[in-house]
Amino acid sequence: MDLIWDGIREALRILGTGDYSLWEITLRSLFISGSAVAISLLIGTALGSVLAFNEFPGRNLAFAVVNTGMGLPPVVVGLLVAIMLWRSGPLGQLNLIYTPLAMIAAQTIIAAPIVTGFTAAALRSLSPRLRSQLYALGASRLQMLWLILWEAKLPLLAAVMAGFGAAVSEIGASIMVGGNLAGETRVLTTAVVLEVSRGEFAPAIALSIVLLALIFAVNLILTTVQQQEQRS
């Protein structure tokens, strides 16, 4: 028990003084997971709208694939991406292994099915005649897509939050493709694992607090926007 209290006290000290390259790691987490989610959003809205609106053979299969993708274990994704990016692998000449870019790629693969699935569901929940109405008003395909997405912005926001949550909390893929290199590819989650394996609980707790705060802040945004919408 003492261990934990000591840990928490020390953690607060670290947080207070900004010791331990905490902020560098936090910013990197934000950058990597944020980028992954941004890319996932592009992919997700494009694929999600095709899934929701277009009839094509194999559509049901596509839905099943997306749903499976949502439940894909991140560590499996990490292994697959690592195998591709290792020097001994097919994409080895890109020299991407153990770089932040590789981590963004892996996290995108993890988050994209989540965003796609949520987007498709959100768009399907809108009235099917809304698209006709917008075309009837003279919308081009792009305008229609933009307006529909704006109309579904609450569930879309939820999709982004879910994707971000998945990306920022995952460890397995990040370690495998990133290598947990200090100053380069170390993020909040991988740093926690490292510190625990070293027996350094105080920094581990500090990092965990930051991670929790991050996730909480991000969810706060969603809740605030939701509340605003309800009121108007």
Partner: protein
Amino acid sequence: MAAAGCGGGKEIILATTTSTQDSGLLDELLPAFKQESGYKVKVIAVGSGEALAMADRGDADAVLAHAPSSEEELVDKGSVVNRQLVMHNDFVILGPADDPAGIKGVDSATEALTAIADKGSPFVSRGDDSGTDKLEKSLWKKAGLDPEGEGWYEQSGQGMGATLQIANQRGAYTISDRGTYLAQSENLDLEVLVEGDPVLLNVYHVMQVNPERFGRVNAEGGQAFVEFMVSEETQEIIRNFGVEEFGQPLFIPDAGKSESELGLD
């Protein structure tokens, strides 16, 4: 660009073990290496098994490991070259202060393990194919025992630090390299119970991944690293590493010595 060993530029990938990284030695040495040679080192710290597998695939430029028999296999295969002795430390058998199996002060590691098995006292193994793990398994074998599957024998599948924590929590015995133990001893209630047996020596070698065999390897960088590790200045740093903090060095530098000098086969 099909010439051998033309990859990497001013960066090298060093495959090493978690216990090596956790000791903090590399944090001390690598800035000096960077300054001297200009090479930035990407330290990938994984289990011994994985580190050597990386070398075998050509996914690293240099390796710093402590699993000599497995390393020798790679030399025979031609996956690594320029293998040089760097340093050694030793393993110790740790356990709870009350020592239920009564192994404190025993000279022979295998005797101690036999006592633990007889008593059925809890023992935590790394079980991750690392150098430490391989050593431990070889000791059980030497003692003529097979603890796998026994109720008192647990495998953590994790690094040394985590394994020490588990052993600590359970009041169990375990084998650790001295360096990791010293680094964490403040947080542990475990004590050194058996030490000094020559079989407990933990020998570190540095080697290059063979650039002739793997096209993407950074030959120059790998070579520079090997030379750096056995250089006099580096050996001096190793000699003094940990003295201030723990009162004893974590590693004994051995560059240039022959294998037999250490009492190894």
